[in-house]
């Protein structure tokens, strides 16, 4: 539990504060998104490329044999169709899916990524088109340049080809070199790729009267009334409260850890050791009382982030 709590007002719950990006919605409410990891984006791209390359091949085979069966020929018609489909597919696959699926392609959806506007506005069709039209330059041309430099720079192999390859590799590696891992297309369209936010609504710890599933835990009815004095609740701040929340929310809290934490808290607040209460009910009661106290202070404009030294 060495995670630093972010100092700024909108407390984030994202895993890695370095990847947290705040967007201001048109309503003026800041929302925190987690920037997509570069590896995830690469995986998503790989999946999409599989489709982009694989589907036209499949189509060609189908059409070719279909036409051959019907008319006994038709290589040229199928060639015409395949050329068209390959081009349309390659150029508009990403654009069409991102348009229809609110900034996702099949690969991105599988990995759990999506495109958003970098400044918090709506994601427009124009932005989607621009961020994908540059793929040709970033992806397909560098690949061609690597495999056959002659095709890119006919007649001037050697130095010219080397220069072209370097130049294009710089473009392809652009996402590695900036803080928001933006591609050229992201730069030109003002977009960025974030993780699709996921969260479930958990029970409120301060209002959960249902009996815990563990058999030996005390039932609420039998739970002793635990009360704290306001001095006892003045020691800890928001950060400690939320660390305690994390501990209590674990599916299967370690009894020893609970006992250690309860012991520490009791010593800190000067709890009378004579009132022997099992660690978990004690911590739950303490959490609720502490939260009530801190939220009350919050309403009065005092935000106590940390424990008193």
């Amino acid at each position: 539990m060495s995670r630093k709590s972010p100092a700024s007002a909108p407390a984030t719950t994202g895993a890695d504060p370095r990847r947290a990006r705040v967007l201001l919605t048109p309503e003026g409410v800041p929302l925190t998104f987690t920037l997509a990891a570069r590896g995830d984006r690469l995986v998503a791209l790989g999946l999409d490329l599989l489709i982009v390359v694989g589907a036209p091949i499949l189509l060609f085979v189908l059409i070719y044999f279909g036409l051959a069966a019907l008319y006994g020929g038709g290589l040229e018609w199928s060639l015409a169709l395949v050329l068209l489909v390959v081009f349309l597919f390659r150029t508009f696959y990403f654009t069409l899916f991102e348009l229809r699926w609110q900034g996702q392609t099949p690969g991105k959806r599988k990995v759990g990524l999506r495109v958003v506007d970098r400044r918090g506005g709506p994601l427009t069709g124009d932005a989607i088109f621009v961020r994908n039209v540059t793929r040709e330059l970033e992806l397909f041309v560098p690949l061609a340049a690597l495999t056959q430099p002659e095709a890119l720079y006919p007649g001037s192999a050697g130095l010219g080809a080397l220069f072209a390859i370097l130049w294009l590799l710089v473009l392809a590696c652009l996402p590695l070199w900036n803080r928001d891992s933006l591609r050229l297309g992201d730069l030109a369209a003002g977009t960025m790729v974030v993780e699709t936010p996921k969260a479930v609504l958990l029970d409120d710890l301060a209002s959960a009267p249902e009996a815990p599933a563990r058999p030996f835990a005390l039932r609420p009815a039998e739970a002793p009334e635990v009360t704290f004095t306001s001095e006892q609740l003045d020691h800890y701040g928001i950060y400690e409260l939320q660390v305690l929340e994390d501990l209590l929310r674990r599916d299967d809290p370690d009894p020893e850890a609970l006992a250690v934490v309860a012991g520490k808290v009791q010593r800190k607040i000067g709890w009378d050791p004579a009132a022997a209460i099992p660690p978990e009910p004690f911590l739950r009661a303490f959490y609720k009382a502490q939260r009530a106290r801190l939220e009350h202070k919050l309403l009065l404009g005092q935000r106590q982030e940390r424990k008193r030294a």
Partner: protein, 328 residues
């Protein structure tokens, strides 16, 4: 004792659950799966949840709750602020307003690339007209396909009036031309994002090619025939290429001279502004590919060829002068 934040949660929870249900469905099946009532409910619920988030940030210390509201708002935000237009109206709006509007906005770079292309043509023409041997400096052998200063006037003439009536081959040829040209055009647009200089180079070298060929054919008294061969599709194709180049230059300008905004912001703004040009140019390339692949291969009458060339030129001139005026 009930905490204020707990009471707050009890009061609002139903809204969040309803929104989560809608958003989950939109994420899986798209906005089309919502009925009229749900569609009007979505933004209301979204705004209510955003306000819940603001309140929760201010009064609640339940980390899981704030995290949930934050994630839910983010998902709803994506669902609410995404493009959702009917295809038909969007299409007509695009061709009647946005495409010509964007082209008008980019008139300055368009003039510039046109000048560069014209300069390329003039240079190629002048050099080859003065010394036919220089033709080989501009045109690769495999591109010329036997149309070079060494070939006879007869074979040159034949190359202009070569016809091919087989349907499948024509379709394949059209489709090849379209995809090849559109790729080059879009590449031109994308190159703009890396400062624009390559755009000039591409335009100029294309002009050189055209100029060199025209000088070759003109030298054999086939000048009119050559342009009659090029222009029916060339008007549309060159226009599309110029549009892509102009869009690329507009992007390059944003990088080099960002003006009042930061470089990144200006690039993002310019990128969106030129997007319609790119989309429209693909449409033009498609049309040019059809004309080149089918019309040119079947119609050999010089008069008809010139009529089509002039007609397309008039059509595009009328289109871009007539439409798109109101756009911003």
């Amino acid at each position: 004792m009930t905490l204020k934040s707990t009471a707050f949660r009890r009061e609002r929870e139903a809204t969040w659950v309803e929104l989560e249900d809608l958003v989950t469905r939109v994420e899986h099946k798209g906005l089309a799966c919502l009925d009229e009532a749900e569609l009007t409910r979505l933004p209301t619920l979204y705004r209510a949840t955003l306000s819940s988030l603001s309140v929760a940030r201010a009064i609640s210390l339940d980390k899981a709750l704030v995290g949930y509201l934050e994630a839910l708002s983010a998902r709803a935000y994506v669902a609410v602020y995404s493009t959702r237009r009917r295809f038909g109206p969007a299409l007509s709006d695009f061709f009647l307003r946005r495409f010509p509007g964007a082209v008008r906005q980019a008139w300055a770079p368009l003039v510039l690339v046109t000048l560069v292309l014209a300069l390329g043509i003039a240079t190629g023409w002048a050099v080859v007209a003065a010394d036919p041997e220089r033709f080989y400096d501009f045109v690769q052998a495999d591109y010329a396909q036997g149309r070079d200063p060494a070939s006879s006037t007869r074979s040159l003439r034949a190359s202009l009036y070569d016809t091919d009536h087989e349907g499948g081959a024509l379709a394949a040829f059209s489709s090849f031309l379209f995809t090849h040209n559109a790729r080059i055009g879009l590449l031109c647009l994308a190159l703009g994002a890396v400062a624009g200089l390559p755009v000039f180079l591409l335009m100029f070298t294309n002009g050189l090619l055209l100029g060199a060929f025209s000088a070759l054919f003109a030298g054999r008294g086939l000048g009119l025939d050559f342009w009659g061969w090029v222009l029916p599709h060339g008007v549309t194709e060159l226009l599309a290429l110029l549009l892509c180049g102009a869009a690329g230059l507009a992007l390059g300008r944003a990088v080099v001279f960002p003006g009042r905004l930061s470089r990144l912001d200006e690039l993002a703004r310019a990128g969106r502004a030129v997007a319609p040009i790119g989309v429209g140019a693909v449409g033009l390339f498609f049309e040019a590919g059809l004309i080149e692949g089918v019309f040119r291969q079947t119609v050999t009458d010089l008069g008809v060829r010139w009529t089509v060339a002039l007609a397309t030129a008039t059509l595009w001139g009328w289109y871009f002068l007539r439409f798109g005026r109101a756009a911003r």
